[in-house]
Symmetry: D2
Subunit: 234 residues, 4 copies
């Protein structure tokens, strides 16, 4: 995963919160834009041997909020490049769309890529609907203990599906939380980051324009997921 944490106008974050949720007090405009290059499988591991069904990349925004006296992370925008990940994301409350996601991989032989070492340089890009939406660059400066602070809380997601009557009513309108288990993290590096977001007539991502970069991170992560908890239904 490649993470860029930065500050945007807190008003832009507030617009993306569920009802009754509020901005956090500390650093309310903090945003994480995260690229991830995954392998994924079910309990029988069959997808691992047919990697078209296992590998996918995604790019997603994480913000934070307060709700019921707790601090939550929340994903308002996410793009992914495979349909199985898109449908699973809907189950989990991620509002996934398709995009083209690319991120540099570190290498251990040869010269065509960065090593996980001081000075290693990474790039990451996001395109959707034929328009480039985001570009990030990261140069590693030091090993660290944690890949940022924005994406560290339980997720607070809406799961919403309108009624087929298309009359403004909902067939499903839930506030849910979820987090993985058996999480394992390795190779956590911090670095200096750059980020550009680009306007698109059909995307809202650039409303979260970076005013100040907080930092950038590279890390590896493995995690399992089984389910979450419904917190509220409308």
């Amino acid at each position: 995963m490649l993470t860029v944490e930065y500050r945007t106008d807190p008003e832009r974050v507030a617009e993306l919160l569920p009802k009754e949720a509020t901005l956090v007090d500390d650093d309310p405009g903090a945003v994480a834009l995260i690229w991830a290059d995954w392998q994924s499988c079910g309990d029988d591991f069959s997808e691992i041997l047919d990697p078209v069904r296992s590998q996918y990349k995604e790019c997603f925004v994480v913000i934070r909020c307060r709700w019921h006296d707790e601090t939550w992370s929340r994903c308002p925008y996410i793009w992914v490049d495979k349909d199985f990940a898109l449908a699973r994301g809907y189950h989990q409350g991620y509002p996934k769309k398709l995009g083209e996601i690319w991120m540099t991989r570190p290498i251990t032989v040869g010269r065509a890529g960065p090593r996980l070492e001081v000075g290693g340089r990474f790039g990451a890009t996001l395109t959707a609907g034929g328009r480039r939406l985001a570009e990030a660059r990261l140069e590693l400066t030091r090993e660290t203990g944690s890949p940022g602070f924005v994406n560290g809380h339980p997720m607070l997601h809406n799961r919403y599906w309108p009624a087929i009557e298309s009359d403004g009513s909902a067939s499903m309108d839930e506030l849910v939380t979820m987090r993985g288990y058996d999480g394992e993290t390795a190779d956590v590096w911090a670095g200096t980051a750059e980020l550009e977001l680009y306007d698109s007539p059909i995307e809202e991502l650039s409303l979260l324009d970076p005013l100040e970069i907080i930092g950038g991170y590279y890390h590896r992560v493995g995690v399992s997921w089984r389910g979450g908890t419904t917190l509220a239904t409308a």
Copy 2:
């Protein structure tokens, strides 16, 4: 649209019906496999000028059933090649997955394609997960009034979303119906058709193996859609 109607084992159709629905009496094993090459837009027509957001292709199965003394059409499998069509399909009760869909277009100049005339030959293919799932061929024999009988009824669809608890309970479990309005049809041709379905370890389409071809059709269609009706909730 390119349609192949054929007969499969009615037991295979029965497996795909909602609870309380039964096979139709006449031709209970009839199936339509339909390829469609669409343009789509909202009320402001903006997608038409940015066709990456307007054009998509899909391939879908239609079967029929009886439910509450009426005859319904129903789509148990469908593949599509754009995300906006996939998400809209979920709203409508279509269980869409991504696939690569190709179908021959008729032409009016040159030689690289069929004319809409006797002897015009079309091909259509479906691939998903890197495996070819279906191939059809159609040779036009005559103009006709209707592109088949399987896809002509109101749709009877399930809209189902499991609870995030992943405990077997559902957050949304509806039986809905929908049909378009302002439908317009042109250039309806019938012909002789061939169809091959291919096994895949991760798809169920080939369970609907063709035992006998009923016929093939080409036609053009335009239709608008606004909403549907919830028939039952579990």
Copy 3:
């Protein structure tokens, strides 16, 4: 095909000419940017029934020049979305790269697209390497006899392949010409056009920035191709 003809700085055109070729006298900065949505096949027509091998879209630039007292058309940049078209293009002297090409199709039923009539509006876009490079819009104003004047001459193309020694020498360095036969044109419409070219760090297209729009065209075309003529070898 959807064509936008416009004027750029003639110096930008001159940079793209082969040695010994010069700008034309009349309208030396005229450029055509053309989108095409093709079906293609060989002599046995087998690709028509397997349309993944038949259908492709492309977007290409055409300029004109004088060489040996004749006027030629020439394609300095072209993007295409299938490999068979890319390799055939290399044979013909087209410097093809892959891109995502989309263009509105006219319709005859329904509402999701323009009719071939006054006021019909079309869009066309080009993306490569995850960056949008061009967007065009066309509104039809009248039927006409010819879809522009820039792409009407025999093509003057370089076919060049460097030696594997990568020492600056060439294994193939030809100036060739080619044109199709059995060409057939229909539904030629003229209209008002808009065009935007976007900068990319890895493409030169935006150097041909439009200073003035000449016009826009829609037409259908069919053409066969067998071979060309080698005019000069270096």
Copy 4:
């Protein structure tokens, strides 16, 4: 890279050799089918920070032959998923086409993939033109010194381009050799492999049907390339 070495009918190998080349004496039917997941860049490393231009996957066949008293490796078939790699391959004599290539990546955290250790299991697949062409599986059994013997010689490639006259004559008809420099190899593992090749009406790969598996390998490799040597011109 994931390599499966196997034996096919030597006659099938002989059909793919250049004129004057002959089968090798030892194991003349040996074939390597190799999947590779690359990052690639030029001398300024700019592609590394825009990984859509750096990352690509390929799947290729390697056979061996004798020519002028030396043993050579040779690539008769290769599929790749990016255009920059396709065009560079043409320069090097690789007859590249586009395909969808997937191969399992080893992991160091979590459970969604194999570790580089005894029992680690990998899958690899190739699809082109919407049809699956090859599937391989590898289970690691031991670290080893070399990832097979078929792909270890200098490459003997044809570089051929027909004249635009399409009259059977050639504009470029070369026999070339090339190999990389600064090669670096790591993590070389051997294992047991399975391989299935599938028929396609438009591909010749399945002519090289596996009669007996020799072995399978995983390894990492980095290599630089600048040029090659023209051995003969027709």
